[in-house]
Structure formats: C-alpha cells, structure tokens
Symmetry: C2
DNA sequence: CCGATGAATGAACGATCGTTCAGGTACGAG
DNA sequence: CTCGTACCTGAACGATCGTTCATTCATCGG
C-alpha cells in the first residue's frame, strides 16, 4: 500500500508530465502540486526518472492484465478474439489517457533499462494482435489482403483515442469500445464463417 | 533562398529535436551538429522557439500544398477524393517523418501564436477529410454507420506511419500510399456507385 | 579608400534544473 | 526515557540551459 504523500506525488507527476512533457516538467512544480516539499519526493523515489518509470509501469501492467482477462473470456473465433483485444485497448487508452500519451510520446526520455522493458512490452502487445490477425486470415474469416497494415491500422486507431477522448463526451467508454470493435472488424474484412459472403441488404 | 549556414542549422535542429524532443534538445548541440558557433544561430533565428516554428511551418505548408494538388487532380467521386487525401497524407508522413513526429508529439512546446496556427491547420485538415466522408455518406457510396470514427481512424492510420516507416523498407512510398488508400476505402465501406452491392467472388 | 552591412565568434549572464545534505519532528518498540 | 525509523523540511551545490553582448573579419557599393 502506498502512503498518501506518495500517492499525491505520483498523481502530481502524472499531470505535470502529461501537460508539459517529461523534459519540460520540473520536479519543483510536481512537489508544489502534490503539496509537499521538494525533498519529500526523494524520500520515496530516487529521482525524476523513477517517477516516469512508476507511472509507465503501473499503467502498462494494468493494460496487459486487462488484455489477458478479455482474451480469456473470448472464444476461439479470431473475430471474437480481435474484438476482445480492441476492447481492452480502447478502454485502456480512454481510462489511462495521461499515461497513454506519456508512453506514446515520451519514450525518448526513458532510461535504457526502462526503454528495453517498454519496447519488449510493445512488441508483445503487437504480437498478440499479429497472432490473431494471422489466424483469422489462415482460417479465411479475415479477408484483408494486407494483414500487417490492417493490424497496424487497428492499433493506430485505438492508440489515437488517448489524444482526443475526454471524459463526459457523448459516448461512454464501453460504447466507444464497441464502436471500435466494429471498425476493426471492418478493417480486417471479417466475414464470419458459415455466413454467405455477400452483403446484407 | 536560404544560405548554406542557415540550412545546416535547420537540418541539425530537425534531427536534434526529433531525437531528443524539443525540450531536451540543447541549442549548443544543434549548433555543434551544424558545424557553426552557438551565436551564429542567433544571427538567423531569434531563438530556439523560432527554430521549431520554422520546421513545423515549412513542412506544414508542404502538406497543404500537396493536398491541394492531389485534390485538384481528383474527380468528383468521394472515393477518388478520399484516395487523393490519403495519398497526400501518407506521402507527407513518410517523407517528412521527423517533422511529422515533431508536430504530433511536441505541440506542447509551441508558443501561443504557433499553437494557434497549428490547431487551426489541424482543424482545416480534419475538415477536408470530414467534408469528403460526409459527401460519400450522403451519396450512399460510403456505407459506414460511423462516419466520424471512420474518419478519425483513417487519419490515425496515416499519422502512425511517421512512427514506424523507414526509408529503404520493403515498400516504396507510392506503394505504401496505394495500400493505405485501399485500407481507407475499406474502413469507410466504399461501394462505388453503379456496381452491385455484393462481394466479388 | 571608406563606411556599411552581413556572417560569424568566444565569453559571459542570469535563471532554472536535478540532486544532495544536514537536520528536524512524530511515534512506536525496547 | 531512549533509540531507531519513517516522514518531511529549507538551503545549498554544480551543471546546464537559453540568451545577450562586444568584437572580428570579409565583402562591396560609392
């Protein structure tokens, strides 16, 4: 369990980093925002870098956990599995907006070890999508002639949500997720097995 | 015409900003990379901020010029027009990779006037897409039930190219553009007028 | 020949940054 | 009571940052 002071510092860093960017954010402003002294931060964290690490790590783990759960609940159909992954990704990008923007734009500022972790995770995440799209194409339910580009497109679409979504918009996170599931399935040209390959009237 | 020294400075800034990010890049490193003294830069530019401004402005104008030309060559069909816009955007993101990443991730660092310009341009760019998608839906050639999200998806797909594309890859820029045109038309569910609304065998 | 202009330089200034340090409370265990 | 530990503080350090300044050198029109 993290103490109240530590939590306040992490929250302040979250907002400062997101608003100014890692390099431009000052730990003095972070401490001021958290309502503690500058040196209090060094009691909990070894430095500015570790603040970034903590934020990115926490939210990254939450994402993979969410993916795991969604995939577990999904069946064997690639369409279902892709939908599960898109749902998890949309929810993550919308609910962890600030951390998402941080991860997507400030990876330059990470330490070497941190960057390695991050790239491995990004690779793993991309692989989950890749595997599912590949399976769908093999099984003939995804008709896209460009599986790699379609996959990249789906991921890019979902990632971009972090840049424009705001709480209290016209769509709830769940509605947004379902809408993006639709778009993703369109992009990979999903045609459920057993159905006639023609368009509904 | 810009002199050789000025051009070298701009080139150095382009790479330094892209590699380290605007805030983390130092003008001393930029000057060193350009092979000129620190103060030589202040002979051409009023400061660090103007370097960013010059880079973003130059490439932004090139983008809109490219869009204008492509749209001019396109006909009236929304499919053709969307294809033209996607082509221009993909080419821009691939050929102006560094400036693209700068614009997409470092808008926080812009001055107030600069940011206003940038947001207006982004708005105008988004409006071009929006108008075309709207027309396509009205004319019944774009069948997507979610025009706004499809448009955002197309733009996000194209923008993401700046993050992964490298010169000398397996696809040329033109091939990449045509592929993304295909994907974009799939995403808006383009069904050319006059054709039967069923799938080809 | 001369003065103006453009190009370029090294040294310095003030500010801010991340970090460290020495110390001060509050509190529970012995 | 006392010691240790967790929590927190203000002050300072060294480095780097963006920027400015005084100056030099070359070029060229008059």
């Amino acid at each position: 369990m993290r103490g109240a002071g530590q939590q306040a510092i992490l929250e302040a860093a979250r907002h400062e980093f997101a608003e100014r960017g890692y390099a431009a954010a000052s730990i003095r402003d972070i401490a001021r925002r958290a309502g503690v002294s500058l040196s209090a931060m060094y009691h909990y964290y070894t430095g500015k870098q570790e603040l970034l690490h903590a934020l990115v790590n926490d939210s990254g783990q939450a994402y993979f956990e969410s993916c795991r759960k969604e995939l577990e609940a999904a069946g064997d159909d690639p369409g279902e599995r892709l939908a599960a992954l898109v749902r998890a990704t949309v929810r993550y990008r919308a609910e962890y907006r600030l951390e998402s923007s941080l991860t997507l734009t400030e990876w330059r500022s990470m330490s070497e070890a941190q960057l390695e972790d991050f790239q491995r995770r990004q690779f793993d995440g991309s692989r989950m999508f890749q595997q599912i799209v590949e399976d769908g194409v093999d099984q003939g339910v995804f008709r896209t002639p460009h599986p790699d580009d379609a996959r990249r497109g789906v991921i890019a679409m979902c990632n971009a949500i972090a840049q424009w979504y705001r709480e209290g918009g016209e769509l709830s996170v769940d509605e947004l997720a379902e809408r993006y599931v639709e778009l993703a399935l369109v992009l990979v040209e999903y045609r459920p097995a057993g159905r006639r390959p023609r368009h509904p009237a």
